[in-house]
């Protein structure tokens, strides 16, 4: 797969007339999505990600800027030409948007009917697609009889029917349970690899991004505030929102609940220090903690720890309480290119008792 630009958004802007005046949905967004890439856009609801996604097939026409898909400037097209281009861009939805009175087969056939294919041609395309999404035995069912995950599989088969180059995913797993979400994400990844499809997905769940995205953009009030490889954004977020979303994946540790009155935001003489250590890079898998204890003669109390693989690379986060001289410890961790952050301080339990 070549790595040319499949989608280029250039200085897009879109404002809506809301009940309380003009609302800026997209604020000067420019980005390029490569062919064959899985690109995620994450943000809270109302951040403008849905509008941004819909700008790619012009379901929402931006007020200004350019939308290039496969080199074609969509905003310059006449309605008929735009409709033809849209057939090359599949789309799946949070609430599936299947026609309730059509069977699974006929739902998948719809884009082909619209394109004017014959019954025979439609059959020849729909059946392999149903097989691809694992629903061959449900062809005659109506959507109401299917589970959420099965409905989304029908949605995916339908989106692929016209053999698009791009798949837009609008919170496609947000209405599904975690297990079903994983199976749908695996299917998307599989399609991406087998068909070389470019996928753009919007979500508010970092776990979705971590699972399949190559790159991710973090959006807030219509702007992209951070953009990079999934690994970088998750492990070294710079923008506060990106950091908050990335940290959302870690086990929650309520320090003030854990330590009560002993917790302090400022250093306490004779107390201990709470550190968050992020393991990535060359030393992600070295026995760092044991070495710290030996070399710096400190006490280490592990509060929480996770190890994860993001895009196939190991990434771990550990929260520890360090009693003793903390500065050399921090210096050493930094020299190993590990992420270190002071979360707070804890007064000595002994002292409080006295």
């Amino acid at each position: 797969m070549s790595n040319g630009a499949m989608i280029t958004l250039d200085a897009l802007a879109k404002r809506f007339q809301g009940p309380a005046g003009l609302v800026t949905a997209i604020d000067d967004v420019s980005l390029t999505i490569a062919e064959g890439e899985i690109f995620g856009v994450i943000g809270r609801s109302g951040a403008g990600k849905s509008t941004l996604l819909r700008a790619i097939n012009l379901l929402e026409r931006p007020d200004s800027g350019r939308v290039l898909v496969g080199g074609v400037d969509l905003m310059g097209l006449a309605p008929d030409a735009l409709r033809l281009e849209r057939r090359r861009i599949g789309m799946i939805f949070q609430h599936f948007n299947l026609l309730s009175r059509r069977s699974v087969f006929d739902n998948v056939a719809l884009p082909l009917e619209l394109a004017g294919l014959s019954k025979g041609e439609i059959r020849a395309r729909v059946l392999p697609l149903l097989e691809l999404v694992g629903l061959s035995d449900k062809a005659g069912q109506v959507p109401a009889k299917l589970s959420g995950g099965q409905k989304q599989r029908v949605g995916i088969a339908r989106a692929l029917a016209a053999e698009p180059k791009i798949l837009l995913s609008d919170e496609a797993t947000s209405a599904l349970d975690p297990q079903t979400t994983r199976s749908i994400l695996r299917l998307l990844k599989d399609i991406n690899q087998r068909l070389g499809l470019t996928i753009v997905l919007i979500t508010h769940e970092m776990s979705v991004v971590r699972e399949i995205c190559d790159r991710v953009a973090v959006m807030e009030t219509g702007r992209i505030v951070e953009l990079g490889s999934t690994f970088d954004v998750l492990t070294r977020p710079t923008h506060p929102l990106a950091r908050e979303i990335a940290r959302g994946l870690e086990p929650e540790l309520k320090l003030d609940q854990l330590f009560g009155d002993r917790f302090s935001a400022l250093p306490v003489p004779g107390g201990s220090t709470l550190l968050r250590v992020a393991f990535s890079g060359p030393h992600a898998e070295s026995p760092v903690i044991a070495e710290l204890v030996r070399r710096f003669n400190v006490d280490l109390n592990i509060l929480s720890g996770t190890i994860d693989h993001i895009q196939g690379r190991p990434y771990g986060v550990m929260k520890v309480e360090v009693t003793g001289a903390v500065d050399p410890v921090i210096g050493h961790l930094k020299s190993l290119e590990l992420g270190v952050e002071v979360l707070g301080y804890v007064r000595s339990a002994l002292r409080t008792a006295l």
Binding site: L99, L110, L114
Partner: protein, 217 residues
């Protein structure tokens, strides 16, 4: 019950069925089109024509707020233009249709509004033309609701048709008023009411059955 009464009942029923049936067909045809236009021409519709929408909306409301007996008399010139006469069962069909078209059109409009906007969006994303969205998405998805609307329209028309006598039309209502009420014959009145009840019940049951069938599919 005398044979003469039975014969009259049968004739009147035929007249009612003719008036209601024809008016319903017209309503189905023109009302569907008008309903589609009302639905599509709104500010966020498939075929934005806010001015057209406002004018048609006002026209529909005006027709619907005119009591049928007044409407019937008020449009006599129009009736004469269409039916060639303003008197008789055939002439009564015109005002019945004129009343039924906007009535059904509103029901069509609301049935289309009930269709999830997401389905329209999905079809647009597939590159569907407005006409395809109408034919392949909106109408099929709204079909059960459209059928219930048609049932309601037919039943309302059965009620309206009772006033056809005012312009010299026949039908069950006319029979009940002239023979049952004005000649003070309770047997005729009861018989007419009984036939009307059975007729309405029948239409409702058939409509429900058909709508249920469609919904299941």
């Amino acid at each position: 019950m005398s044979e003469a009464l039975l014969e009259q009942l049968f004739d009147s029923l035929t007249d009612t069925l003719l008036m209601v049936g024809t008016a319903s067909l017209v309503a189905l045809l023109l009302g569907t089109i008008l309903g589609l236009v009302l639905f599509a021409t709104t500010e966020r519709g498939l075929w934005r024509q806010p001015a057209t929408n406002r004018v048609l909306g006002a026209l529909v409301n005006a027709t619907r707020s005119t009591p049928f007996i007044i409407l019937m008399v008020a449009i006599i010139p129009f009736t004469r233009l269409i039916a060639g006469t303003s008197i008789g069962t055939g002439a009564a069909i015109v005002p019945l249709a004129v009343a039924a078209v906007p009535f059904f059109a509103r029901l069509v409009e609301s049935a289309l509004r009930e269709v999830d906007r997401g389905l329209i969006e999905a079809a647009q994303a597939m590159g569907a033309t407005p006409r395809q969205i109408l034919a392949k998405v909106l109408l099929p998805e709204a079909l059960p609701a459209l059928l219930r609307g048609l049932t309601l329209t037919i039943i309302s028309l059965i009620g309206y048709s009772a006033m056809a006598g005012a312009v010299g039309g026949g039908g069950l209502g006319d029979l009940g008023i002239r023979y049952g009420y004005q000649r003070f014959n309770p047997t005729v009145m009861l018989a007419v009411v009984a036939v009307l009840i059975i007729l309405v019940q029948l239409v409702q049951s058939l409509g429900d059955l058909a709508a249920r069938r469609l919904q299941k599919k």
